[in-house]
Structure formats: structure tokens, C-alpha cells
Point group: C2
Chain length 328, copies 2
């Protein structure tokens, strides 16, 4: 299924010069990758795709950032399970015109940069041509201590809701980019170069507590709905306690809230833990010099998500981030 | 990264009602899939993409066949490692127009059919929209007995070259389809519904012999080149011994040979084993009621691929199957 012109040379050019994982037996260069896992770990696999014109445009991300982000959002899914990312496979569909070999190499360089940060190895993939838009479909495989399950379905009444960092920055940055304000506009880096929260997920995994967890890919309203639905509980967020990026109060409260609740692509972690374990979780995060915020609580009511603001309570819809419309 | 309209309902509609693998802890329904592997196995992961207009058209494959084949070609990569397929992740990019919800469900039904044949579980993926052609990117994860490596680089001088079944049928079938001869024309099923050779790969893996192995996705000329290059040897094929589908001699010898050598998408296995172990391999295949053909031998010469025909020897180029040109 390989069609890109001179694919062999291209694959050689993107093939890693070294690998990190001792588990790796055979990486790129055969029909499939081969690796060995000891008996102390469970494993994690996830797949996420980025499509030109839908998730990015050449005007919103550089080729390097496209590659970096395509892998980052997959690593973020491993973080949302509390896992350690290990390997990734990249299936790229390259348009027959419009993308130079240099740009394609930049995409892989972007992936390599973040892969190096997390010490993960590319172990396979596919390179095909397409008549239309660039597609990058990535699978990441990771591991976690046996039996640790940081699932969406773990939330219980009495839990507190936490968030690992500010939200809304990615949507604000994208808005600036789409207005043509350029790469130096505020918050643009939130959109272009998100950081998956592996370290934070690991703290939560190693705490041993019952924890429900999601990464904020679709906005905290939507992610809270997913936790509430999977666990059969009601989630109440306290508006005043949700962290925003520095300087965000320059925006109207409506705009700010829209981005924070529904913007998405922030890749912080949102989850719940029993009230009695919250102080200990805060201590663990402080000990690792990482942020964590208490932003709400869980009630034993019909599945729903609410926002407390002053004396009022609003019901939050499950809106997600809509990327670009097809008409743009 | 999820954009398809009413994605939740769609995922619910394609979510498997049951799972096979006891290793599975968490499948579809969280950020990522979670599974547990014992300590007796190595693991295998591979990714392969099918793109509308490049690898298939609506006139060459039904939606059901598109899904079935997209998974089949990935399972074939596991077969080419001698492995047991276990799990798959599907990233599908759906055009904003031109594909009905019914057709999309048919695609997943096709995957499910072959997944059931091989008892493998869908454990994740992504569903996104695209402005253009349908893309299906699949990752399959499998396992194999620890330390067994059926790699391309295993060929040695003195080995014989084997093939598990006839080649050329897929290209002949596609040719009929492109001429508008319809789904009942000869050989069409070779193209539309290939069978990955997991059982044959398992016989070879369990034999314990040193074996090099590839699946015939790009034609036996190209696959032989891959074996020769990875192993640093010369491969010589004997034209008269290469099996063709029944009735193939109705075609001109030129046409027949072109399809057999360069057609591709046959998904038989081609490989090498030491001459001294060949008889035992034949016995094992006979015991399992499976076919295997001796079609050539390996020499300790500069990396190259040759064809013996009567008293002559021709050098074979590394031509692969070219699917559809962009002009069609």
C-alpha cells in the first residue's frame, strides 16, 4: 500500500538513527514491529488522526508543528490513562501536489522532537499518496503498572473534580491565527505546540487512588460530560476556580468562557478523585513541582454537567470544539 | 480530533457486542485501549492505509469489501511475521459528501467479518471528517512466541525460496473490474476479498527453522528484492515453478507474467528456508492441508533478483504494483 515516489529513500531519510526502548526487537524495516514486554505491565494503544483543512491549515501550523502536534495529541491519550508512551506508528497520506519533500521531512522532524522528549520510538507505519488533503494517522502504544485503570467510569459521588492547568489558550491562539495576527500573537503556542501531561498522569497513576481521567481535547464541558456519562454521575464545575491563561481577563467574559469551556485542544488532564485523597494528591503534585486545580465536585444525580457561578447554576451542553467548517 | 456528525451514535453502532481476547481490559470507550500480555510472547504491531481513488474506487470494491480488505492487508503483515493477530485500531476519514451512514456501517461490517474469522478485537481508533477522499488507516497488534523472528534479513545462500499459493489473480481481477466486466468476471474475488495467510505463517513460526518471510503485497519481484536487499543475497526464481491461478494460461505469456511478477495484492507468503529443512516444511504444510511451492533458490552473490526461464536468466526489476494513476 505504498505509493509515494521514491518511498524507500524517503523512509530511509526519516528512519531514526537510534532507539530508546530496550523492549524493541525489530522496528522499521520489516512487515511489522516486534517488541517484548515484561510481565509487570499492562499495555495501552491509541490512534488519533489529523487532517489538512479540518484540524490544521498551512496558515495555522508549520509542517514541523503539524508533525509535533499529531504525535502530541496521541501521547496525550496515553497521559489520560496514566501511562508511559513507548512506541508509535505513523500512517501518512501525501497529496500528489502541494507538499514538498522538505515539508514532509519537517513533519517527521516535528514528530521526532516530541518523541525524543518522551523517549518513544517510531516502530512502523505506512506512506501512501492521496488525490487531496494531507492525512496523518498515528497509533501510540504505551504501558502502565498492572491493574491500574484510570478510566472515565471511575468517578463517584463525593469526588472532587481537578484540572492540571489553564484551559482556553489553544482556542484563543487559533482565533488569532485565523484573524491573520501571526505566530507571535498571544496564546498561539498553546494551539501550535501543546504539551501532553504524561508526568501529571504518572503522578496520578502512581498515587494508587481511584481516579477518573480524560485529556482536554474537546473542551472541559465535553470532557466533563464524558466522565459523567461513563460514571453515571453529575458533575458540577465552579466557574471561579477554573484556571485561565495569564492575561485572559482582557477578553470579554463571554468569549473567555466559551474558549475555556468549549475551546478544546488544551491537552491538560481533567479528572476526579475522592475528597479524602485530594490533599495527598496536591502534596504529590507540589512535590513534583506541577500544578493541579480543584474545579468542581461529583454528585450522585442524573448524568449531567453544571456550572456554579455566584448564586446561580447553569446546565452545560456537550459542545465540542468544531475545528474549521467545510465552507472556509 | 473527532468530527463526524453524531459520532457517538456512530461509534455505538460499530462497537463490538462481544470481545474474544482475555487479554483485553479496556477496549473502545476510553481515551485508549488497555490490555495485558503474559510473559511468554513477543508482540507485533503494524499499520497500513487504504485511500479512495488510490487503492480502491467504488467501482472496484463494495463498502463491505473496502472494510474487509483494509483489515485483511494488515492481518497479512502479521502473517508475514508468523504472528497471531490480536487487536486492531481503525482511523477513518470520512468525506463530507458522497458516503452514506449505511455505507460507512458496511465498511465496519466488512472489518468485523474478517476480524471474527481471525478472532481479533477492535480496541480503538478515530473517526474524523475530510474534505476529500475516504481514508482508512488501520493498526494491528499481534503476538508471537518469544524470540521467533521471521525477518526479511534471514535469507542465506543455499536456502530455497517458497510461495504459499498462486499469484497474479488479484491484478487479473482488477483488470477485469476496470474494464467494466463486473463482479462475476474471473479472478475478481482475488482482488476484492484476499485471505491473509495467518495459518501458513503460524506453521512456519512453529517449525522453529530460520525463515525469511514477506507477504505478497507488491508482487513477487518486488518482495524478492526486499528479501534479497535485507539479507544481502541474490534470489533466483524458476519461472516454470511459480503457481498461477487456474485457467491463467488463457492469457498471453507476457500478460500472465506481468501480473504474476508485478501485480501484487495477492497476500500469499513468500520466503526462504534452508534446503535441508525444506522437506520437513512440506510435510508440515501437508499435515495441515495447506499449499506450499518451491519457486527458487538463494545465492551468495551481489543483491539482485533473477528469473530462470528455460536456458536463459533474466534480471528482474523491483517493480511494484501501481494501483490507479492520478489521471484516471
Amino acid at each position: 500500500m505504498s505509493l509515494v515516489k521514491d518511498e524507500f529513500a524517503f523512509i530511509q531519510s526519516i528512519k531514526p538513527a537510534y532507539t530508546f526502548r530496550e523492549e524493541l526487537i525489530q522496528g522499521i524495516g520489516d512487515d511489522a514491529a516486534l517488541y517484548r514486554i515484561g510481565s509487570d505491565w499492562d499495555e495501552i494503544a491509541c490512534a488519533d488522526t489529523m487532517v489538512e483543512g479540518i484540524h490544521f491549515k498551512k496558515s495555522t501550523l508549520s509542517p514541523f508543528q503539524i508533525g509535533r502536534k499529531a504525535l502530541a495529541v496521541n501521547i496525550s491519550d496515553i497521559a489520560a490513562m496514566g501511562g508511559i508512551p513507548m512506541f508509535y506508528l505513523v500512517s501518512i497520506s501525501v497529496p500528489q501536489t502541494g507538499w514538498s519533500s522538505k515539508q514532509l521531512k519537517e513533519i517527521y522532524k516535528g514528530m521526532k522532537e516530541i518523541a525524543d522528549d518522551y523517549e518513544i520510538d517510531m516502530i512502523g507505519g505506512d506512506t501512501v499518496s492521496t488525490r487531496s488533503d494531507l492525512h496523518i494517522a498515528i497509533t501510540v502504544i504505551g504501558k502502565i503498572e498492572k491493574g491500574r485503570k484510570l478510566l472515565r467510569s471511575n468517578a463517584r459521588a463525593g469526588d472532587i473534580v481537578f484540572l492540571t492547568g489553564p484551559v482556553g489558550g489553544s482556542a484563543a491562539g487559533l482565533s488569532s491565527l485565523l484573524k491573520g495576527e501571526g505566530n507571535e500573537a498571544p496564546y498561539v503556542k498553546y494551539h501550535q505546540e501543546p504539551s501532553p501531561r504524561i508526568k501529571q498522569g504518572r503522578i496520578l497513576a502512581k498515587s494508587g487512588y481511584r481516579i477518573s481521567l480524560n485529556d482536554v481535547s474537546d473542551g472541559i464541558a465535553s470532557e466533563s460530560h464524558e466522565l459523567a456519562e461513563a460514571s453515571g454521575v453529575s458533575i458540577i464545575l465552579n466557574q471561579d476556580t477554573i484556571p485561565a491563561p495569564e492575561g485572559f481577563d482582557a477578553y470579554s467574559s463571554f468569549q473567555r468562557l466559551e474558549w475555556m469551556l468549549n475551546g478544546g485542544e488544551d491537552y491538560e488532564l481533567i479528572g476526579t478523585v475522592a475528597e479524602e485523597n485530594w490533599e495527598k494528591v496536591v502534596e504529590l503534585f507540589e512535590a513534583h513541582d506541577e500544578e493541579i486545580y480543584r474545579i468542581g465536585y461529583v454528585e450522585d444525580k442524573r448524568t449531567s454537567v453544571w456550572m456554579n457561578y455566584k448564586d446561580q447554576k447553569f446546565k452545560l451542553d456537550k459542545k465540542g470544539y468544531n475545528h474549521f467548517s467545510s465552507k472556509e
